[in-house]
């Protein structure tokens, strides 16, 4: 029996190995993802993002408990950064969901970014596809906490919760980072800390001033250690809204298109660069010797490659 069949039948070991194959990329990943593609699209996907230390993992754990109480099996993908220097990674999100992870109805996988940008690992969307095909009706994906570049999650999840806390900076920080633009729900966690109510009020006015986009993200206050009820309720409302007028299908199609666009850009760039060896080195030498600017060097390199 093939690995894909075992995954579709819900075998946990096969799923875990499949996730490694998908992370490794290449022809084996393509083959596996193709074999399960007809079974992708049934799961609800929720993204949880925000700066480091705001309590994302603890909130994810609390959401897991809510979904489990309603009887849904839950898949969690938790992303932490790889070191750009040696490639190593300390994956600590599982640590915060230790109790929830004991449950056989929960499958937690930690991924290192391995050079992926935008708060996710390159393989994270594919990992979600695999968990989806394996039959988990609810998927939670937690991004790295880098504060300003987690926008990738918007193309991957149906609903994005942006989590902030009174210590994570004011509303201006969140606006600068583009976080409010990708938020479907804004969650102010650590609501018992000083400044939580003020931050929530500030976020409300920022959202009121933002250009309308059909759905006005609600701002909710949580204390993750007590649970995630207000966040869960807001996510349910967003899911209901998505369920109307074909919005979910449109959103997923846009997300898939964005994923394809990024992959094509990389594949094309890799092929083109490989077809013109030495071009980058020549331009770098010229720029360092003061013969032209970086911008000019890049356009010359592009011309040379496309010729």
């Amino acid at each position: 029996m093939s690995e894909a069949d075992a995954i579709l039948r819900g075998e946990r070991g096969a799923l875990a190995r499949g996730l490694s194959i998908v992370e490794g990329g290449g022809a084996r990943a393509v083959e596996l993802l193709d074999a399960i593609s007809a079974r992708v699209g049934r799961a609800r996907r929720i993204g949880v993002t925000g700066p480091p230390g705001v309590g994302k993992s603890t909130l994810v754990a609390a959401l897991v408990r809510r979904f489990r109480a309603r009887g849904a099996r839950v898949g969690v993908v938790a992303v932490d950064p790889s070191s750009p220097f040696h490639g190593g990674a300390l994956l600590g999100d599982r640590h915060r969901m230790s109790e929830e992870a004991r449950d056989e109805g929960v499958f937690v996988r930690s991924l290192a970014t391995r050079g992926g940008l935008g708060g996710l690992s390159r393989a994270a969307p594919d990992a979600l596809d695999l968990l989806d095909a394996a039959g988990f009706p609810v998927l939670l994906v937690e991004t790295v906490g880098v504060g300003q570049t987690e926008v990738e999650v918007a193309a991957t999840a149906d609903s994005v919760a942006v989590v902030l806390s009174p210590e994570s900076g004011d509303a201006v920080q969140a606006m600068k980072a583009g976080l409010l633009e990708i938020a479907d729900v804004v969650c102010v966690n650590k609501s018992d800390r000083e400044g939580a109510e003020a931050l929530a009020a500030e976020l409300e006015s920022a959202l009121d001033a933002a250009p309308p986009r059909g759905w006005r993200p609600p701002v909710v206050l949580t204390r993750a250690l007590d649970g995630a009820e207000p966040l869960d309720d807001a996510l349910e409302r967003h899911a209901a809204w998505l369920g109307e007028e074909g919005r979910l299908g449109d959103r997923r199609r846009r997300g898939v298109r964005a994923r394809i666009e990024r992959l094509v850009a990389r594949l094309v760039a890799d092929r083109m660069l490989a077809s013109a060896p030495g071009v980058l080195d020549r331009e770098a030498d010229d720029v360092c010797a003061g013969r032209r600017s970086v911008l000019h060097g890049a356009s010359r390199a592009a011309e040379a490659i496309l010729r």
């Binding site: 070191s83 190593g88 300390l90 599982r94 937690v108 290192a112």
Partner: protein
Amino acid sequence: MTSARSGPIRVLVAKAGLDGHDRGAKVVAQSLRDAGMEVVYTGLRQTPEQIAKAALEEDVDVVGLSLHSGAHMTLFPRVRALLDAAGLAHVLLTGGGIIPDEDRTRLGAMGVGRLFGPGTATRELIEYIRGEVERRRRGE
């Protein structure tokens, strides 16, 4: 079935048993990360069942157990048995703590890898893991 992965070595670092001394585990996690490995840190008071479930889901090459509670003769064989039952016979089980030599020998005979005592240079641990994983990934 062995892992198909050829990327970074993945290690689960867990504290089993009821003692709360996790400094050693954290130091080990950090040095393995700095050696280019992907380390899943699960924290304190993990049961053997939790450890085996995490090892399966995370598809790790290595489980590193830190324990200071004196329960090594129970916990190591229990984790080994659960890993084997989950189809993870290829996963290296190693660890550290205060473990008498004769117990190390007995655990070795039960399929537990090398165990490292206090004061071990992390270099030694890293080399051991690299060597073992390379061998196991080749399917030896």
